[in-house]
Chain length 426, copies 2
């Protein structure tokens, strides 16, 4: 079955608010196995909303509208839907009562325009709204399911979760499941070329790649008659992806972020971490501290943007700064080792570089970043060249640092296992 | 003139990402005085994108498409636009060179699919993308302006700002100018109620409020026959806003962020700053270090997420942690004072709190945050209660900290000026 989302609201068209409702509803519809080919945003305008509804009903089975159910004159979603589907609006006694209750509870006077909210298209299922005065509505009409929800997310989400999701779950006749494979350390076009044969062959399951800053996510989606069957269909595809990308895959779990994967890796190996950041200025620490429960592994973070701070806080040598300059592999190394001594953390990450827009030279251009990672005294330093704005360069550096952290920890343990010695310095 | 926004991407239809590009573009188009009646999201599908384009060109003068310009096979926005408007794709030598440069700079191999990005519809204006490999494109065709932008916000925004906005500004036949007034420290509904009379009366110039995390931006927009006239029309409105919001206005400059305003304030008063963060984990330092040239004022940042780090790094007393717990006004105070002693910075900011989702108690619920700010030894601590996810709570805390920083520095100097003494502790 095909669903189409229609968001009604001039404030979205003007960019006053971000349309988070559409993302929420889209994700829920995908989980229900509904195909969604279009989302439309249209203003509080009867003619244009009417045309949007006509088009949507010509190409979808389920129409979900959000917004425009309020008490003011420019709220006209319900009225327009009723008109397009030839339904009269009738007063719903229960909703009228609920509105009275709502205002009484808050000690407010009901203004006349509020009674408009007690009118519903005849035959509609009325969904009580416990967080506002406009009820949700479900209409079964002309072989379509039309769902109307209030715009405020605090009202829309509980109504969808509690009433609409179960309603749609019964209606849908197929099962769609998807599985994500999250990759770091390889660019999107390289990922794509590594699975070109699989993409060319794809049918069901389908395969799609999504580029994030410094990461690529591959989504495998299967359609089947049962959940079990869908999972079975995806299994060999995911297996093949694992074979091709190996340790560049940091997770196959939808919820797990790169920072979560790093923290999990540290926890699993009982390692603590400290960070020492120059141009990223705390962004690596901030990413790690996104992860609830990180206090188990995170010892301390330092932001030493100036040379003076690098010397004073971390004991980077004046002579090193002078000889190699602050943006150098040597300084990244001394930073990683300095913070290791200072905090006794098992693993340390250090970043120094030129984030721009000024401060670049021919020798040390904007975008040049050195990242050091020390695992139990073994320090590795890598050189990177990133492009873009100051923010973009810093974000790229953060992802590169987390990627290097994973790589160094994994290498450390694999080399111990294979007896390559544990104090080799790269 | 009428603009229509088309966002291309299956990841938006699946709810994997929130369509922030549409909100960004909508706000900019409104500032340009363009009317926008529809926004559409469509997947990476030639047939459906083609139909969406046909519909959009029947009802708008300017079409702005975002997404689907990448190197992979399912990126087909450019190909579909060329087909719908009957244009051939030709290789753009300059873009080819730029792609070569991009990969060379990164020491990476160019995979074959990347050359696809050097193909452009014949006659199109090519907009160099400094943050990625897919260029932006502007086509003047069939009496329409069709603009193609890459999907990643870090690429789309600089291209729009630098190239598309000025291009459209020349095209629009009316002169529309707008001026922003950026406010911190007051919530959106309070801001709205403080200017309700102005909003009710508005006509030309118009007034609109935009809520950002912890900030409210008011945009004043005037339409006139000349730039001079537009500016003259806005002047009394902006003057009235300044009168009403006073020091809660941190800038009236489009480009200036809250962190920039903070750094400027520190620079102007020759003050240095250090930070000490627990639950925000480096986010405040990272925001400050967004500002180029911050090295003049930023001394050092510390991330002390655990109690142990709070004691070891900053000398917060064990007895204080025991008596008041880590999330307390007293600990925030000792953190702000500790970092002041440690780094000899004139101004220090400290944050401690419960970011959740776990760790909350009845007494110290999730969302409770204490922020300390010390200016030359005068320390002020504020208690905050924020709602939402771990990330949302942390982001709110960062903005609150920067807001408090401004307030404390301004207070310090106003009290010195008015002779209220300089060592009073609040």
């Amino acid at each position: 079955m095909v669903v189409e989302l229609i968001s009604v609201g001039t404030e979205i068209l003007l960019g006053n608010i971000v349309n988070t409702n559409a993302a929420y509803l889209a994700e829920k519809c995908a989980a229900l196995g509904l195909a969604c080919y279009y989302q439309t945003v249209v203003g509080d305008n009867e003619k244009r909303l009417g045309e949007t509804l006509q088009l949507a009903k010509s190409r979808a089975d389920i129409l979900i509208l959000s917004g425009g159910l309020g008490p003011t004159q420019d709220d006209l979603t319900k009225e327009t839907v009723a008109k397009v589907f030839g339904k009269k609006l009738v007063e719903d006694a229960r909703t009228k009562e609920k509105i009275q209750e709502y205002f009484k509870k808050r000690g407010k006077t009901i203004t006349d325009n509020n009674w408009k909210q007690a009118l519903v298209p005849e035959g509609a299922i009325v969904l009580d709204n416990d967080n506002g005065t406009a009820p949700g509505l479900i209409m079964e009409v002309e072989n379509k399911t039309v769902i109307l929800l209030p715009g405020p997310p605090g009202e829309l989400k509980p109504l969808f979760e509690g009433r609409v999701f179960p309603y749609l779950q019964i209606k849908t006749d197929k099962i769609i499941r998807s599985q994500v494979v999250k990759i770091c350390g390889i660019g999107e076009s390289m990922v794509e070329s590594m699975i070109k044969d699989m993409i060319d062959r794809q049918e069901n399951p389908t395969i799609a790649t999504y580029a994030k800053t410094g990461e690529v996510h591959i989504r495998v989606t299967a359609e089947a008659d049962s959940e079990k069957h869908a999972l079975k269909m995806m299994k060999p595809v995911v297996h093949e992806l694992k074979k091709r990308f190996q340790e560049n895959i940091y997770t196959t779990n939808e919820e797990v972020t790169l920072e979560q994967a790093c923290v999990d890796l540290l926890l699993a190996n009982e390692l603590t971490i400290s960070t020492m950041e120059s141009c990223t200025g705390g962004m690596i620490a901030a990413r790690l501290i996104n992860v609830p429960g990180v206090s188990e592994v995170f010892k301390a973070g330092y932001v030493t943007y100036s040379n003076k701070a690098k010397r004073k806080v971390l004991g980077v040598k004046q002579s090193t700064l002078k000889k190699y300059t602050a943006v150098s592999a040597k300084v990244a190394e001394e930073m990683a080792q300095g913070v290791s001594l200072l905090t006794k953390a098992d693993v340390t990450l250090s970043v120094t570089g030129v984030a721009g827009p000024d401060g670049g030279t021919e020798e040390k251009p904007v975008g040049l970043i050195y990242i050091g990672c020390s695992v139990k005294g073994r320090t590795k330093v890598m050189e990177y060249h990133f492009d873009g704005s100051r923010m973009k360069i810093r974000e790229s550096a953060v992802v590169a640092a987390l990627t290097l952290l994973r790589q160094c920890v994994l290498e450390y343990f694999s080399e111990i296992t294979f007896g390559k010695g544990k104090n080799k310095k790269n």
